[in-house]
């Protein structure tokens, strides 16, 4: 088979995009197997971790093996949904390798929304969270939470760009937002710090990591589930450290 290199490359690329968008492990494996099958490869062994894909196929007595590492991850549900559909429709639509490659790069290029729109929506969301948890919150709390979350979001994007370690990054973000919140309290803009911090903290909490960890463990990918649980724990510890540190110093400084 002449195109075997290309088939392996394309299925690994699809798998990489799935994992980078935070899909479950079994779905990424299913996509890889679907693509290989659709282009006529029969003996497929794929083993996927949250951080790596190992793919080995056997054709006419020859074994071809490829490994692909995954580094950066950012949740992108549209990509998961599109690649999932694409991998199932290869046979039905009679895609050739080149057509499939084109479709795949179309999906890769859909980066989603511009940064400022994301910042605004996430900030509004976090503002609503403050009201949800604290029924006595008013619209000033909402606006303050909105502004602080905006700052936090942009710092988050900056730290992510330079691949800052997850614990330190979350600790720094938590320090920033708790500091801004306690400044707002000491300037008398808002009455209590709780609503602001609880609203803003929702941008950091590892909800995605927890959900994915559980779903991986259900599907029998215990190892990847453990990786993601530890990831969630590291993030939570980072947040707790950052919030604790700032509250401690603002207590000493008499800001609260």
């Amino acid at each position: 088979m002449k195109e075997i290199d290309q088939i392996l490359e394309l299925s690994l690329e699809a798998g990489r995009m799935m994992l980078e968008s935070n899909s479950e492990i079994y779905r990424a494996e299913e996509v890889i197997v679907n693509i290989c099958r659709a282009f006529g490869v029969k003996n497929i062994d794929v083993f996927t971790l949250a951080t790596c894909i190992y793919l080995s196929v056997n054709i006419e007595g020859h074994t071809y093996t490829r490994i692909r590492r995954i580094y950066q991850r950012e949740t992108n549900l549209a990509r998961i949904s599109k690649i999932n559909d694409l991998s199932r429709s290869i046979v039905k639509n009679h895609y050739t390798l080149d057509q499939f490659k084109e479709k795949l790069s179309d999906v890769e290029s859909c980066q989603g929304l511009p940064n400022w729109q994301r910042a605004l929506t996430i900030s509004a969301s976090c503002g609503v969270f403050g009201i949800m948890f604290m029924p006595k919150a008013n619209w000033i709390d909402f606006i303050v939470t909105f502004i602080i979350t905006c700052f936090t979001y942009y710092l988050m994007q900056f730290l992510k760009k330079y691949e800052m370690n997850a614990f330190i990054a979350n600790a720094l973000l938590a320090i920033l937002m708790t500091f801004l919140a306690s400044m707002c309290v000491s300037f008398g803009i808002v009455r209590d710090i709780d609503t602001i911090v609880i609203g803003t903290i929702m941008i950091l909490v590892p909800g995605v990591a927890v959900t994915n960890a559980v779903r991986d463990i259900i599907n029998g990918d215990i190892l990847s589930g453990t990786i993601r649980t530890v990831e969630a724990l590291i993030i939570a510890l980072g947040i707790a450290f950052g919030v604790g540190l700032t509250l401690f110093f603002s207590n000493i400084g008499g800001l609260l």
Partner: protein, 145 residues
């Protein structure tokens, strides 16, 4: 209760947007999230602890998400990731740290255990719903070894 539903809906909407949720799925995920949050608040109103309330909320929203995934033939994650976020115990994490800083270790410990319990409750609810639906569908289609 309608206000709670709307609040849950709006907060999920923001997260669905930042996760780049496909447009046809985002509303369904948010409706699931709204119902989950309303169920959580309702259980709190019945004088239940937050762990039970979180468990019930997660149960409700994951059932809705599984149904949506089956009906609209899409990955469950696409609906479930935005929907689950309101229940994640961010407030518990904050209060645990606050009590630690105030040297109030009794309260800090009980709040910490409650936070951990909330996270485990979400996990178990997801586990139950997802494995039971999978089991049912396998039995219906007769797939077995």
């Amino acid at each position: 209760m309608i206000t709670e539903f709307l609040l849950g809906f709006i907060s999920c909407l923001g997260f669905g947007y930042i996760f780049n949720c496909p447009l046809k799925a985002i509303l369904k995920g948010c409706i699931a999230g709204g119902f989950g949050w309303a169920a959580y608040k309702m259980m709190l109103g019945f004088e239940q602890g937050t762990i039970i309330a979180t468990f019930v909320g997660a149960l409700v929203l994951s059932i809705i998400c599984e149904i949506c995934a089956r009906v609209y033939k899409d990955a469950v994650t696409v609906f479930a990731l935005p929907a689950i976020l309101p229940l994640v115990p961010g407030a518990g994490l904050y209060y645990t740290m606050l009590y630690f800083i105030q040297n109030n270790y009794d309260l800090a410990l009980s709040k910490g255990i409650e936070t951990l319990g909330n996270a485990v409750a979400i996990a178990i609810a997801l586990l139950i719903v997802s494995s039971i639906t999978r089991f049912i569908f396998k039995v219906i289609r007769g797939i077995h070894h």
